[in-house]
Symmetry: C2
Subunit: 398 residues, 2 copies
């Protein structure tokens, strides 16, 4: 049996925690399991490296940012391998490049296109626990690249897909809940969740998994087990769930905090495409879009995006609108996006109606709403967050 096992930054934050992980890995290896271990950078290392870059220069070259921050995982894999070796477990570390993780796209946000798994297979056959640097790879001209947010999960799931095995992700929390327990302490722990629902929840703000890794898992049929790195408690299986089980209309609720809403007023209709093309070129993902066209051929355009992209987004918008008279821009960041997710919504009508009534009854105003096949999302002022989470959780028994 072989398994890809992934540990996030807080699970490898110090030598003590690494030793704890190493002991478990050794026990499993001694029982005959083939293990590929994916680790993130220790604790806050990546942010510390980014801080150094940002203090040194205003706009660090992204190629060099990748060169710099990829050292974080390189230190983790070396340290974990040393500890495993010292315990008598044969282990060998591989950087993203050495592990054959081929990527493409813009530096700091690349995507895995394929993995040449020969080296990993070879190291496994030699009896090694193979410790692979998460979050990183290389591009077609041999440069070091990173995968962006949630990259280590993506590395783990992609490796499991190529190695044709399951994937375990150990993290700070003991699995997936209907709502983040920090928001709603009575939140229900899920023993299993369907790929589609997990993806939607992740996309809409649940921080346990990134949507892209769930997407790969679904596409290649990789079963993911998410569990606590610190406690021996039952986790959550993310897999293809039998549709007969879909009796619940809502599986979960996600809150995305780091959101901004941008509004452009008096924009000529013909400039709309330029806005989205420019944002796409800089790989700024936009989310909810609403648009109202006036009688004079001008339009009011709103969209939401991650607040992290604020300065980049404003620079782009400024370039576009400054030559056009009368256009104004406003950016709001004290907002949240609250989303409810459930594959049962496909077949059960009335969820949206119930939510609109709940909000009206409790005087919660929202600024924007979008729906997908299995979710509904609302943008609202941060001040409404707690009340909205509570009334939805109670009403839908999450």
């Amino acid at each position: 049996m072989r398994t890809v096992v992934k540990f996030g930054g807080s699970s490898v934050a110090d030598v003590e925690k690494m030793r704890h992980i190493a002991e478990n890995l050794k026990t499993r290896k001694d029982k005959g399991e083939d293990l590929v271990v994916v680790v993130s950078a220790m604790g806050k290392t990546t942010n510390q490296l980014l801080a150094i870059a940002n203090e040194a220069v205003k706009n660090p070259s992204k190629r060099e940012v990748d060169m710099m921050i990829s050292t974080g995982e390189q230190i983790s894999i070396a340290l974990l391998s040393m500890i495993l070796n010292e315990m008598g477990a044969k282990a060998v570390s591989l950087t993203g490049f050495q592990a054959g993780i081929r990527t493409e796209g813009v530096h700091t946000k690349t995507k895995i296109i394929d993995i040449d798994i020969e080296i990993i297979e070879e190291k496994l056959q030699e009896g090694n626990i193979v410790v692979v640097a998460g979050f990183q790879g290389y591009n077609e001209i041999g440069e070091i690249t990173t995968l962006g947010r949630g990259g280590s999960d993506t590395t783990a799931v992609a490796l499991a897909a190529k190695l044709n095995c399951s994937c375990e992700i150990y993290t700070d929390v003991d699995g997936i809940y209907g709502i983040d327990p920090r928001l709603y302490p009575k939140a229900r722990h899920l023993d299993e969740i369907d790929f589609e629902e997990m993806k939607e929840m992740a996309f809409l703000g649940s921080k346990v998994m990134e949507p892209r890794s769930v997407d790969i898992a679904q596409h290649y049929g990789v079963e993911i087990y998410v569990a606590s790195a610190h406690e021996d408690k039952r986790g959550t299986y993310i897999k293809e769930v039998d549709k007969a089980l879909e009796s619940r209309s809502i599986t979960g609720l996600s809150v995305a905090e780091n959101v901004m809403m941008v509004t452009l007023n008096n924009l000529p209709v013909e400039s709309i495409s330029e806005v989205f093309i420019s944002l796409a070129r800089e790989e700024i993902n936009i989310d909810m879009i609403s648009q109202t066209t006036m009688s004079d051929g001008r339009t009011s355009l709103s969209f939401t995006a991650s607040a992290e992209d604020k300065s980049a987004m404003e620079a782009i918008m400024h370039k576009i609108i400054s030559p056009i008279e009368g256009v104004t821009m406003s950016t709001v960041t004290d907002i949240v996006k609250i989303s409810v997710v459930g594959s049962g919504m496909r077949t059960q009508s009335g969820v949206a109606a119930k939510l609109f009534k709940l909000f009206a009854d409790h005087a919660i105003q929202f600024m924007q709403v979008t729906t997908s096949e299995i979710s509904i999302s609302y943008i609202m002022k941060k001040s409404y967050k707690e009340k909205a989470v509570f009334i939805i959780a109670e009403d839908f028994q999450l």
Copy 2:
């Protein structure tokens, strides 16, 4: 014109120092010079990383040590390239692997066997300042390796040899002195020094340059300029010096502090080769050897080595001598090696005689002495160091 320029750890210890370097590089680049810049890890980074490894485990795997400490230079090259980019100088960083630096030998102590310079040539032709990680390379199976002590100088000189250009090494001191000015404040600054003399001085303890890099420079005819990274003062050229200039009998004096002397008593003569073969296998360099054979076929063997190898050396010796009855081992570390170097010694006799007389006159006892074609070295107690340096410096006007 092209030049390889190298900066050591203290010259790139913080962002401010890197900015200072970057400004100079940009000025030179703007004047049309092609620059390949080799940098070490920032300040004490390498030692800090080694400390992490040594705290985590007793005997860190050397493969993983290389994986870990090579991140130090990777951070430097990324940061320096970012700063250059921000100043409007096109620059690109390359790890040892990316720069094509092929090595062989034991991890943490590998040697450069060749450099595939295509990538560097390509990046230069694209108009880049090419910033290369010193001290590191890769081996025949694609593992990351490091070059050991003085490795960044070796990287710089080897690159200059392959790129067919000269090499500038910027460091804490403003060049080469006859004696370390910290030992003898009146020490004479040398405007130039011959490869052979520099090599001998470096080998015998002068810390400014490592002998291996001078050796490569001499072999490929690479002229090295050693100067201060902090002050605009005249440095020292290391090159082939016209033999007619060799009027001085002694060019310099070196003191090696970190020395141990190992003595094995009652060793069977047939075990001597085993001692040296075992040390060579572990790549422990030994230096001065003396041996006295007794009438019973047993021998007293002494040799000196770097005190850093003490625990490794003692472990090896213990294995060899423990099965043999009567053999004892002692290790002394409160000693120094004082060496005088000068290519004039080849042709001028009497230097050795003068030194022996000086030591006798001043009641300085030495424990061992060796001579080479252009140097004489004495092992003595640390307590004699200052007096010995002073009397030699005064007598030979260094």
